[in-house]
């Protein structure tokens, strides 16, 4: 599948900003089943200085600063992506993956092979996913029962989150503690992904946070609205002995070709699409528009 993703973030300030420094995690990273064919970033007003690097997790980080006074900041990225995730999805259902039990997984995790060592850091607490309570462990343990296939348990966990939690935007912010989300059982895709990650880590397995986009299809017979697509987040669990397996608890499905990956990390903190420090006295209003066009 070939896609063009355009993502526009606009900040309108009610008082002039004299300068700003920003960091963007918007350029899609290298990821299995996905290839970045073209990428362009446009900043208005024009950045005085811009640089790109690859971070600890392999994501692209763009840093830029604007030194002229401005009242509006607009960052637009256009990415052309080829996504073919079918073989990955199939492999998740294979015996090699589904046969691994919780006990086997934990045992394999003790090994010191490079990929296991690399994955193990995703068992630890992270900035947004920490101090998880007993309620999260209890919630996880209902699916992760002794002797059970890790894949099955994770799939069930995804389904349960989908059923038990309400999608309510505006109720949570990036810094709402996971225990509160667990208590209230509502939030948005970031929250669901982070709840799932907390559950998996609480039983001692690695899980990471994936940030990206999802293509939404219009109701039959209607034309697709521009900007109806959205940035999205889901999680990936590391099944020792097999590898990383993705789940999308917001849509209750294993991500496929409509899921496009931008970056990943321990939680949202590692991959915020755009953040920065601004110098000025005003407040800002944010507007985000994402449009995903299927080319073929």
């Amino acid at each position: 599948m070939l896609y063009t993703v355009s993502h526009t973030t606009t900040y309108n300030y009610d008082a002039p900003v004299s300068y700003c420094h920003n960091i963007a995690v918007l350029k899609p990273r290298k990821s299995p089943g996905q290839e970045l064919l073209q990428y362009k970033m446009q900043i208005s007003p024009e950045a005085d200085e811009i640089s790109e690097r690859v971070d600890f997790f392999g994501n692209y980080i763009t840093r830029f600063s604007i030194q002229k006074e401005h009242k509006e900041l607009k960052v637009t990225t256009v990415s052309k992506l080829e996504r073919d995730y079918d073989s990955q999805r199939e492999s998740f259902r294979s015996e090699a993956c589904t046969a691994i039990t919780l006990e086997q997984a934990r045992k394999t995790l003790q090994k010191t092979e490079a990929d296991i060592l690399e994955a193990k850091q995703f068992v630890l607490e992270s900035i947004f996913i920490r101090h998880w309570g007993e309620n999260i462990r209890e919630y996880a343990k209902k699916s992760f029962t002794p002797g059970r296939s890790v894949f099955e348990a994770a799939e069930e966990l995804m389904q349960r989150i989908y059923v038990d939690f309400d999608f309510v935007s505006g109720f949570t912010s990036v810094s709402t503690p996971i225990n509160e989300v667990m208590q209230e059982r509502k939030g948005v895709c970031q929250d669901f992904a982070q709840i799932a990650i907390a559950c998996i880590r609480s039983i001692g397995l690695p899980a990471r946070y994936i940030s990206g986009y999802i293509e939404t299809l219009p109701p039959p017979g209607r034309e697709k609205l521009v900007g109806a697509d959205a940035s999205h987040a889901w999680f990936s669990i590391f099944i020792p002995g097999f590898g990383w397996v993705d789940f999308d608890p917001t849509n209750n499905q294993i991500p496929g070709n409509q899921h496009l990956v931008t970056g990943w990390g321990r939680d949202y903190y590692d991959v915020p699409p755009l953040k920065g420090v601004v110098y000025g006295s005003g407040r800002s209003k944010l507007n985000v528009e994402v449009d995903i066009a299927r080319i073929s």
Binding site: H21, D55, K120, S175, Y279
Partner: protein, 853 residues
């Protein structure tokens, strides 16, 4: 030991296992004998005297330590005991070797964990010890530094263990404190105990500080002769702020805060009066996560947005590099022997405190079983409030801790409870044993690491306390390394320091310092003028109390209202308060409040507070005389605040004292700080404040014409509050009349207290500011002052003194002129602020994220 000294130690019994001075058989060890011989010569009274001298010197020099969360803890005096801690050169040699080895090891660890991570990959260190430590900053991964050593400055806390050897108990690596205090301790004992010092061959510190300066210069990513080096402090409320200011003035580098610095085009700049000035090296006292709000802790106002990127581009060197906090990690201790074998293939020289990392099954079960006997620390929070002493915990607390450890075992380390050795402390005329810890400092040099021959020794606040910490009010000692043979005298601190900042003068003054000096000038001026005015009003109240006359109350009403106008404490005497009461019905109560209520904006107490804090934040510019007078001023004020039975007379007396000391203080400022250091800004602030208050005072007292006797008395009060009565009599030799008063107060060209004179001087001073000299056109602030000055020169006192007609009581022309002048001066201040201090752009986050890392 002789009988004479024997009696000194009657209280010196110790049930501790190890004492630094006494052997178990109560004989005195090695060099301590020599020290005691010296003390015997000095005698108890002499020692008392010398301790007093030390206390006095420290107070004189304003050596302080701030204690967090303690309202009285700000600027607490530093304690230094007259008895130094001694270590023989032979023992020191081994410790020095061990410290060099440990510094090198930690340097290699730092390089590895932000580089290849072989320690983790090859199983030497479990990944959780690094990845689970909040000081491991993934943002710093794979940064390439130009310098061979990454760890540039390393501090280790040493304590003597049960085997009689010095053990490492703590590693400090991100922004270790104490070096400045060690230097200050040395300079103090050097003065007070110079005879003993010379007699005992104490190793000097000067070479070390020269090497430290070399380190900073060499750290510059660009090889230029005079790299710009700054010292970054979190500000005057930080616990060790004294030290930051002390090191800044000792080394001759500007002391800056995050606000003083800015990142542009991939470089770091200091905002100075003239503009931006490139910075090459930052010696920082701000912790890792606060150094860059863009990439690290987003709500930090102590750092510089974009700093980490400048580091990545190798355009600035930070001492120590950002990210080095991960080495402050007791989780590493159990693995240090293995790390040492891995990197250096040799054993550790210095023993360490026995530690168990709970991330391992066996260790964890040992810890859980022996919790009550151990000291438990999280691997990444080694400050005292996160340390648990098992022996002091209740059953329930132990249970709770056990659960925490079970939940996140890799996050905890347990350590053996070590019984520190004791060293003698001189307390209230006798010797007491106190538990001690020594902080040592190691720095990277051209040929490996160098260790400070000495350090900062801290002892427990009393004989029963085991733990040692300045936050708990401990005391410190100088640390003497004793050489067996006389060493060659090295001349002290004569290295060639050329501070680029000093060379270029005013233009390179950090703008925050400039702003502080400007406000210091304004506040000191305001304090003085208002104190004089309030004193005058109090005197008038006192004098008229016994003679209640109609005229008097009219006069007092006018003076009371002037108090409100001068201090800006509205509604005050001007109108009724919101609750319907009126200050006029109890004027003394209101005046006391305007003097003493420190929460009230504009009150004398409030102004004093602003004055103190603006002075405190530029204390690196102070001389010790200034500090002494400043302290007296604070004392006068404290006594006044603590006075329970306050009368008008007592208040007048206190104001008298305050005014005299303020004048002394102002005189000292003028001779202690150079114009290039920013004195000019102080003068500008002072002149502006004096001018504005003169205008306010004249508006309050001269604009309305009064009847006969009242007018006379008001004029007299005005002159006396302006300290101008004698000059008036000398100049005019006449009955006090309004026209000559206007002339003297406002128009006199030669009288230093007249407004014309003040504005004339202001005009000259602002012409020396960097931006004033740019072209033939005047800057906005120059235009304002020029206009004000001209307006005054064009006016005549004769017509200013007149009212519109004989029925009118308003001197309209005077009123208009004063209003215009007041507005022009306000604009001048605005314009100076905008041109020179405008680093006040509010910093905010694009996305509000308030959480801790």
């Amino acid at each position: 030991m002789t009988v004479a000294t024997n009696t000194w130690f009657t209280r010196y019994f110790t049930d501790n296992t190890y004492d630094e001075m006494f052997s178990p058989d109560l004989s005195v060890k090695g060099n301590w004998k020599e020290l005691l011989e010296n003390f015997k010569r000095i005698g108890i009274d002499g020692l008392n005297q010398r301790q007093n001298d030390i206390d006095w010197l420290l107070e004189e020099n304003g050596v302080t330590y701030n204690v967090y969360n303690d309202p009285n803890g700000l600027n607490r005096p530093w304690n230094l005991n007259v008895i130094p801690f001694l270590l023989h050169a032979d023992e020191w040699q081994q410790i020095e070797k061990g410290l060099k080895q440990r510094a090198e090891l930690l340097n290699l660890v730092l390089k590895d964990i932000y580089g290849e991570r072989r320690l983790i990959k090859e199983g030497v260190v479990p990944h959780e010890v690094i990845y689970g430590h909040r000081g491991f900053l993934r943002q710093c991964d794979k940064i390439h530094y130009k310098l061979d050593k990454h760890l540039l400055l390393y501090a280790a806390d040493l304590a003597r263990g049960s085997d009689g050897r010095m053990w490492v108990v703590n590693d400090r690596s991100q922004a270790p404190s104490g070096m400045g205090y060690a230097l200050e301790n040395r300079s103090t004992t050097n003065r007070v105990l110079s005879d003993v010092f010379v007699d005992m061959n104490v190793r000097r510190l000067s070479e070390f500080f020269k090497e430290f300066n070399d380190l900073l210069v060499e750290a510059s990513p660009e090889k230029i002769e005079n790299p710009n080096i700054v010292i970054l402090t979190p500000g005057s409320h930080n616990e060790t702020y004294f030290e930051h200011a002390y090191l800044a003035s000792f080394l001759g580098y500007p002391l800056v805060q995050g606000n003083d610095l800015v990142v542009r085009e991939g470089n770091l700049y200091m905002k100075s009066l003239k503009g931006l000035k490139r910075v090459h090296v930052v010696l920082r006292r701000v912790d890792d996560i606060f150094t860059d709000p863009l990439e690290l802790r987003e709500d930090s106002h102590l750092g510089v947005a974009g700093l980490l990127d400048v580091v990545r581009r190798n355009n600035v060197a930070i001492v120590n590099p950002i990210g080095s906090g991960v080495l402050e990690n007791p989780g590493l201790i159990p693995f240090m022997p293995a790390i040492c074998r891995f990197f250096l293939n040799e054993p550790l020289v210095l023993p360490q405190i026995a530690s168990w990392w709970c991330g391992q099954e066996k260790e964890k079960s040992y810890v859980l079983e022996n919790l009550h006997n151990l000291v438990i620390k999280p691997i990444d929070r080694t400050n005292r409030e996160h340390i648990h002493f098992g022996s002091l915990m209740s059953k329930a607390e132990l249970e709770k801790l056990k659960n925490e450890i079970q939940r996140k075992p890799y996050h905890f380390v347990a350590q053996e409870r070590i019984s520190f050795s004791t060293a003698p402390n001189f307390t209230k005329g006798s010797f007491e044993p106190r538990n001690m810890v020594a902080r040592t400092f190691t720095i990277a040099g051209k040929k490996g690491y160098n260790v400070m021959p000495g350090g900062l020794v801290r002892v427990a606040p009393d004989r029963n306390t085991l733990r040692v910490s300045n936050q708990r009010g401990g005391t410190s000692k100088d640390f003497w390394i004793i050489d067996p043979d006389r060493t060659e005298e090295t001349p002290s601190f004569n290295w060639n320091r050329r501070s680029a900042i000093a060379v270029n003068g005013l233009a390179d003054l950090p703008s925050l310092t400039a702003e502080n000096l400007y406000w210091a000038g304004r506040y000191v001026g305001r304090t003085l003028v208002n104190a004089r005015f309030l004193r005058m009003v109090l005197k008038q109240t006192n004098a008229t109390e016994s003679v209640p006359q109609e005229d008097c109350s009219v006069k007092l009403n006018i003076l009371y209202k002037a108090v409100t106008q001068m201090t800006g404490t509205y509604p005050g005497f001007m109108e009724k308060r919101e609750d319907g009461t009126y200050a006029m019905s109890n004027p003394l109560e209101e005046i006391f409040d305007v003097i003493l209520n420190r929460e009230r904006l504009g009150s004398l107490a409030h102004t004093m507070r602003m004055f103190s804090s603006s002075y405190y934040s530029i204390r690196n510019l102070w001389s010790s005389d200034m500090w002494r007078v400043f302290e007296t001023i604070q004392k006068i004020w404290r006594n006044l605040e603590n006075e329970k039975d306050l009368t008008v007379t007592k208040l007048i007396k206190a104001l008298n004292q305050l005014i005299t000391r303020l004048i002394a203080f102002m005189g000292l400022i003028e001779e202690s700080i150079m114009v290039e250091q920013g004195l000019l800004l102080y003068f500008i602030g002072l002149q502006l404040e004096h001018s504005s208050l003169t205008i306010t005072k004249c508006r309050a007292l001269l604009v309305n014409k009064q009847a006969g006797q009242t007018e006379y008395e008001i004029l007299e009060a005005l002159l006396s509050s302006h300290e101008s009565l004698n000059i008036y009599r000398y100049s005019y030799r006449s009955f006090i009349r309004v026209e000559p008063v206007i002339n003297l107060m406002l128009m006199d060209l030669k009288y230093p207290r007249s407004l014309t004179f003040l504005l004339g001087r202001l005009q000259k001073d602002i012409a020396r500011l960097p931006h004033s000299q740019r072209s033939d056109t005047l800057t906005q602030y120059e235009k304002n002052v020029f206009e004000a000055f001209s307006k005054l020169r064009l006016a005549s006192s004769e017509s200013l003194a007149m009212t519109k007609n004989s029925e009118s009581y308003l001197r309209e022309e005077l009123d208009d002129l004063l209003e215009e002048l007041s507005e022009l001066l306000f604009q001048t201040s605005q314009s100076i602020t905008n041109t020179y201090f405008n680093h006040t752009y509010k910093q905010s986050q694009l996305v509000d994220q308030n959480f801790s890392i």
